[in-house]
């Protein structure tokens, strides 16, 4: 299913619930027990976090950049494994769109994209891990919502992937629309906006369903694949990623309805504005680079460009980097090590990947999408 078609369908249906949804995470290679070890680790981290929040004298504003520099690496809360967004390979190298954002931040600070420690987090543990200081930034396909912004003590500086929630079913069920799912049992991951959207959607359409919620995306998808549920629901991008892991991917179809808006982006702790700025401008540098035609390959030649916008972006004019606590060539570092947004997209989720997701809403604004780089000025 083409995400473009998917999103127009969503607009037609006008089914964007008041509470917006979420994401999940698969991990084909992490076996069941490994998954639980992760869960245990996350629980341990929550326990530590709780103890810390009881006795520590809270992290003061502006502290994150200093502590990252002191540690010598960035801790990045990532998915336990979602193809295209954040997943470790057999050698333990993390790749994905969300992973690239963390690498870009590390590149901007250290000029070295490998100075990142990835902490895999289940959906239900991720915000606690960020709140407690276990991770510096949470880049884990998390939906920005008002309550998360205002009640969880978080900030979502940018949206790095515009998504929406969809459904996957087995072909042999003969279902062609989510409206036909009355009475179905549906597998979902707990602690996500997905869980809330699902309830909203079935209530709004006066349909019944049986929800089966699991702690991790891995357990959720395995249960669906084993036949526990008729349908599996998550963000559309996640559906395409998960389908690759099914025992027979061609037996499953993604239904056309998109039932929610899922603006996915990195989250940081509320109150450290400098750190929020660094995350915001790292993403914007990648967007602006794409718009200005600056790529991983040509960034060094571009330094001699006479285009004032490129000069400001690459730090040959002005002192924009120093103003956020970085060096003036911060954007050069990001682009040289990670590439611009378009390059990262194509490599991880686009034509260069197994997912083959079209840019759709995630195209630059100049090409009809929603990704709009704020000017460096």
């Amino acid at each position: 299913m083409d995400p473009d078609a998917v999103s127009t369908e969503a607009a037609r249906n006008g089914l964007t619930g008041a509470r917006l949804g979420d994401n999940q995470d698969p991990s084909s290679h992490v076996e069941l027990l490994g998954e639980h070890t992760n869960m245990k680790k996350a629980l341990v981290s929550i326990a530590f976090g709780l103890t810390a929040s009881l006795f520590a004298t809270g992290a003061s504003a502006q502290a994150t950049l200093n502590s990252v520099k002191q540690k010598g690496f960035l801790t990045c809360g990532s998915n336990t494994g979602l193809a295209g967004f954040g997943q470790p390979d057999a050698q333990g190298n993390w790749t994905g769109l969300d992973v690239d954002l963390c690498r870009a931040i590390a590149a901007a600070i250290f000029d070295d994209p490998t100075k990142v420690r990835f902490i895999p987090l289940a959906a239900k543990d991720r915000f606690t891990a960020l709140q407690s200081g276990e991770v510096d930034v949470l880049s884990r396909n998390s939906t920005a919502t008002m309550s998360r912004d205002t009640q969880l003590g978080l900030d979502f500086p940018v949206i790095n992937y515009y998504d929406g929630q969809g459904f996957m079913v087995r072909k042999k069920l003969g279902v062609s629309s989510a409206k036909e799912l009355n009475g179905a049992s549906i597998c979902t991951q707990q602690g996500t906006t997905t869980e809330l959207n699902l309830a909203d959607y079935f209530r709004a359409n006066n349909m019944k369903y049986e929800v089966v919620a699991f702690a991790t995306s891995d357990e959720t998808f395995k249960a669906y694949d084993a036949g526990r549920c008729d349908a599996f629901t998550t963000d559309a991008s996640g559906l395409y990623a998960e389908r690759l892991r099914a025992s027979a991917p061609d037996d499953h179809i993604v239904l056309p309805e998109i039932i929610s808006k899922e603006p996915l982006g990195p989250a940081v702790r509320h109150g450290d504005n400098q750190w929020g700025d660094i995350v915001r401008w790292t993403h914007n540098a990648m967007l602006n680079a794409e718009e200005l035609g600056v790529t991983k390959a040509n960034v060094d030649q571009m330094k001699t460009s006479e285009n004032p916008e490129i000069k400001r972006l690459l730090g040959t004019e002005g002192k924009f980097g120093e103003a956020v606590g970085l060096t003036n060539d911060w954007a050069v570092r990001v682009i040289k090590h990670v590439g611009n947004y378009g390059e990262s997209f194509e490599k991880n989720v686009g034509e260069g990947s197994r997912l083959k997701i079209k840019r759709g809403q995630n195209a630059l604004w100049t090409k009809g999408g929603l990704q709009y780089g704020i000017p460096v000025r």
Binding site: S53, G58, K124, A213, A215
Partner: protein, 403 residues
């Protein structure tokens, strides 16, 4: 030893300084400790509140009244995403934990006693089978067993469209066990009354039979009469009522729907897997407790019972088990507590127990980790203390009464 103590007390001055009085010192340290603990909690609480406020994280227990907005697969009370609050979700999770624990404790006691007694059987085969059961089940982590049951239960069962029909309105498929749901008519009261009469009758009959036996030594068929009064009488009433056209119970049978069977009652596979895992695992421990209890009863007791002419069954039931219970009950209580606490592993197989619903979904949707974790810990503590309390009362009843 004794002489040393006497020597010390002789050399120490008869009048002690107030500061060196061990009683005063003891009390002093106790007070210091209590104050330190209270101060620690106070510092932790105020510090946490301050940190939460600075981080703009919501705090307090007000969230319990907010609309939850999500659905739960097994709800013993009315709960829907539309009106249910986080507080209701908490109760749903709590009841799900309690029901799986209560049913689990019932079955695991039965199975545990059976296997414990079987391990002491004179039949070599029976004893070895029981031994293998105990060693295998006790030495494999519970989480692995739960996943085994869940995946085995899931994997082996057919899809809804090919549901196994087991007769009498029972169906089995990968979505669980489906059965007819009884619908009570308005005259169900008659049946309840008859059942009550049967129970009271049984109680009176048993007392009478016991008295007769003590006085005359004559034995009466207690088991058969109990069965007839408790089961036979209500069933007979039901049949009579049905024949005269006033059937008090009708059944709603599961029907085939678009996706799954609809109507009737459904038992979730998650529930079955969790129950099976908890019961079989805990039974292995209870079996060992029971075996230890029986072995603790002196062999002379069995021999004495045998010389009185009691059958082996009667010896076990009337002589050995009542004495073994004194040894069995304290460790049995801790196995009950373990089962209740282990039910929180439900989180791994998607059964909506307290931890899965409250510490999973609710914690994540509200972000109020401290409150949610404190409530959950309080609940498990309360359940455990209540179980201990009840078992202690029972223990006191069976304990040796010292004269």
């Amino acid at each position: 030893m004794n002489s040393v103590q006497t020597a010390v007390s002789q050399t120490s001055p008869p009048k002690k300084s107030f500061l060196y009085d061990p009683k005063v010192r003891g009390a002093f340290y106790q007070v210091v400790l209590v104050v330190a603990i209270i101060a620690l909690f106070y510092v932790a609480a105020t510090n946490a509140i301050e940190n939460l406020q600075r981080a703009k994280i919501a705090s307090g227990f007000g969230f319990l009244n907010n609309t939850a907005g999500f659905d739960i697969s097994q709800t013993l009370i009315q709960f829907s995403a539309a009106g249910g609050t986080y507080g209701d979700a908490f109760i749903v999770g709590l009841l799900n934990t309690l029901i799986v624990s209560a049913i689990g404790i019932f079955f695991t006691t039965f199975l545990g006693f059976l296997i414990g007694i079987a391990r002491l059987s004179k039949n070599w085969m029976v004893a070895k089978v029981a031994m293998v059961y105990v060693e295998v089940l006790r030495n494999v982590p519970l989480l692995v067993q739960l996943l085994f049951w869940y995946i085995a239960v899931l994997g082996a069962l057919p899809q809804p469209r090919n549901s196994l029909e087991m007769g009498a309105g029972f169906y089995l498929n990968s979505r669980g066990l489906f059965m007819a749901k009884p619908i009570w008519a308005s005259n169900i009261g008659i049946l309840v009354a008859v059942l009550l009469i049967g129970l009271i009758g049984t109680f009176i009959y048993r007392r009478w039979a016991r008295k007769q036996q003590e006085q005359t030594g004559r034995q009466y068929p207690v088991g058969k009469v109990t069965l007839a009064l408790v089961l036979g009488l209500p069933i007979l009433t039901w049949i009579v009522l049905a024949l005269i056209g006033a059937n008090p119970i009708s059944f709603e049978l599961p029907r085939k729907g678009t996706f799954n069977l609809t109507g009737g009652m459904q038992i979730l596979p998650e529930f079955v897997a969790l129950l099976l895992g908890l019961v079989t695992y805990t039974a292995a421990f209870i079996a060992e407790v029971v075996r230890a209890g029986i072995l603790a009863v002196s062999k002379g007791q069995t021999e004495a019972a045998g010389s009185l002419g009691l059958t082996p069954g009667q010896t076990l039931r009337l002589v050995v088990i009542p004495q073994a219970m004194r040894v069995i009950i304290p460790p049995l209580t801790s196995q009950y507590l373990n089962l209740t606490k282990n039910s929180s592993l439900a989180v791994a197989i998607g059964y909506p127990d307290l931890v899965q619903v409250f510490m999973g979904t609710v914690l994540n949707q509200t972000g109020q980790a401290i409150e949610v974790v404190v409530i959950t810990m309080g609940v498990y503590l309360t359940i455990s203390l209540l179980t201990s309390f009840i078992m202690n009362i029972y223990n006191r009843r069976v304990a040796i009464v010292e004269r």
